[in-house]
Amino acid sequence: MTAAVRVKGAPRTGVDWFLLLLRVLLIGLIVIGLLAFIAQQIDPGNAFAKWTHDGEEASRLTWPQFRGLIVTGLSQGAMYGLIALGYSMVYGVLGFINFAHGEVFMVGAFTGFIMSTKFDEAGWWDGWIFIPVILFTILVCTLVATATAVIMERVAYRPLRGSPRLIPLITSIGVSFFIQNAVILLFGPGAKGYPPNPEWLEETIPGLGIEVKKLLVIIVAAISMAGLWYFVERTKTGKAMRAVAEDKEIASLMGIDVNRTIVTTFAVGGAMAGIAGILWGILFKSVIATTGFLPGIKAFTAAVVGGVGNLGGAMAGGVSLGGAEALAPLMLLEPLGVEGPSQLRDAVVFTLLILVLLVKPTGLFGERLSAEDRA
């Protein structure tokens, strides 16, 4: 289970040395990159910066630019986090990765597209009436995504309960293709554009330098997360969910209906993905049948980085992933003289995953697996 951790006292093999080297190399790169960044912020013409930039002065990042990156990273990360919760919860309870979860997110974004277009035709996707309308849209997106996740569990995964975990895993890939192509069949393969946001949503808050829409994304994500936290930690159903995640047999001994709790888990994960979907639509104003793929993979990465099965970890993993994605190209790679660092954004994300697994195989905040998965 812990590929990267050597049993104490066992002799180091070639693989151990390789992994050690990789760890040292990656951490070394991060440290040097950061130092170089700080150095060129202070003096863009320092010797190292000149050396890495072919003799020319490096460019300084201004504070508004830096702030812009942080806000972007946060809002993107918040969405990754919301999606990651679904991966994490299902993994915690059933011990398999539901690769079709990214499609639940996409379904949420598509629902948002349909709703927003209709509201726009009615002239309600504008001005201050937008506020109740968006709340209603969020609600509908949440419901549709929840329904998708629940039907998915009932049709595709429940019949496989008790079979080896690889089987639902492969099934989930099939479900993912099914949903993608069903959406293509229904709505066509092209990108669908959301109507323009109300003008006040596109404005920048003076002084703060944050766009209103990004703030909205961060706030809605935070509220959703708080709601989920309350649900899982404080309600009876939430306790039952955690009990089922840890030990299904004993949970049923307590009288908990395990099947129903599993459905609840899918439903709650789906709801979070649905919210992320509509937020995505507001932020990027475009959705396509394959929208779920890359954010899904990144959210899955976020879940692993935070520690699978750990809800706080999933959210923190998402935010750190979004942040790393936004900041690392310019704060680590550019100072090292990498050309076109933004192209390496996705590579940064997955390198981060490898690094976390190498240094702390259970994720930043520790994984929470059920009794049978720990064995």
Partner: protein, 479 residues
Amino acid sequence: MKKLFMILGMFLSLSMVAAACGSTIDEVASDAADAAGDAADAVEDAAEDTADAVEDAVTDDEDAMEEEDAMEEEDAMEEEAMADHLGDGSLGQVVVEAGAEVQIRSLNAITGDVAFLGLPNQRGVEQAVADYGDIKGFGVTSGQGLDDLCSADGGQAAAQQIVADEQIVGVIGTSCSGAATAAAPLISAAGMVMISGSNTSPALTSDQQGNAGPDYHVGYYRTAHNDLFQGAAMAEFVYNELGLTSAAAIHDGDPYTNGLADAFANAFEALGGTVTTVVGVAKEDTDMVPVLTEVAAGSPEALFFPIFQPAGDFVADQAPGVAGLEDTILLAADGLLTDGFMELAQSEGMHFSGPDVRFGANTNESTGVSADEFLATYEANNGEAPSAAFWGHSYDATAMLLDAIDAASFVDGDGHLVIDRQGVRDHLNSIQGYAGIIGTINCDAFGDCGSQKITVIKHDSAADIEASKANVVFEYAPS
């Protein structure tokens, strides 16, 4: 489970690095294409052998004639039908039986995101075939339209299908330069010709200074412009007309966009301007703020992003929100010169470069059909106006190919139409001063036939796209 994560992570990370290094992939792809080309060479050798055998049968007399010297010249003259066509038979012949049709093909991006580009191309081919009529009494068909998928693998797969059919003389396509890179070597090796109406990558032809591009293959032609000029045109417009001295460019790793961004950067620097950044995005990227921040670090006065939708939507939408780019002039190329993009509010105020599409009353000399007549037929057949600008290029390309087939063929004693493959190339190589819908067409030694005139338009209102398309603010014709 941890191991699975590790392996997944490693794999994803590697593939992302690979994807980011777009050029590396292209090399790999073209290597693969070369390998495929080698395979095709073998096929071609075999084909040549059979062709030689046929030829031997036909030309044994000729050999004999040569040996028996000029005395037999009169006999040779008697073989009038044979002598009255272009070509020396070195690439073999296509024999069309009486009653059969001459086979050409359309290979364009007709599905997916870029169908807006490929479908008008294919319809241009079909209309040209219909307008042209018979060749020496033989009908012509473009068969079922093939799909290049706008990708190297799509182009390669379709080309393999084409070269397997020895009846096919030539191909009109591809839509995308990336697909042509993989298709051209196969088509070339099979002795066929390929004329594209919308490939623009300089790598496919030449640098216009006598040096063949890395992906040039004999038998490749195009009626579209060479991006060297579009880049130069945009650079000249920005530097001389707008009077800006610093600029940045964004591409998406595709050979087309990459080549265009580089061409712009080189020309802009040659004029004396400063290029602050040339950087790539991924086609599926949505969050452009990091890359735009990277661009903003150089404080460019102009930003040229010759990419496609949907990535172009995000760049245009997010750029004004990035500190340092609020007042930067946004420019794009013909890839975004589409109704879908120009209808978006964020595209207002942008400039677009592209081929001069004010065809007006230009008439194709082979079919006698004018641009206006073409458009009338097009709208009648399809219920819409063309969604991209290269239908005329494809139309002229098709007419040129059919002219070439006419010039390189003869009807033999059995009533078969015999087409000399080398003759088709000879004819295309010699085209000068051909009047097409797109203007006057002259083919150079590396297959560039198109008019190289580029225009820049200013897009003032998303509500009136047609007005913007006619709002030409700059014209550029290479000297």
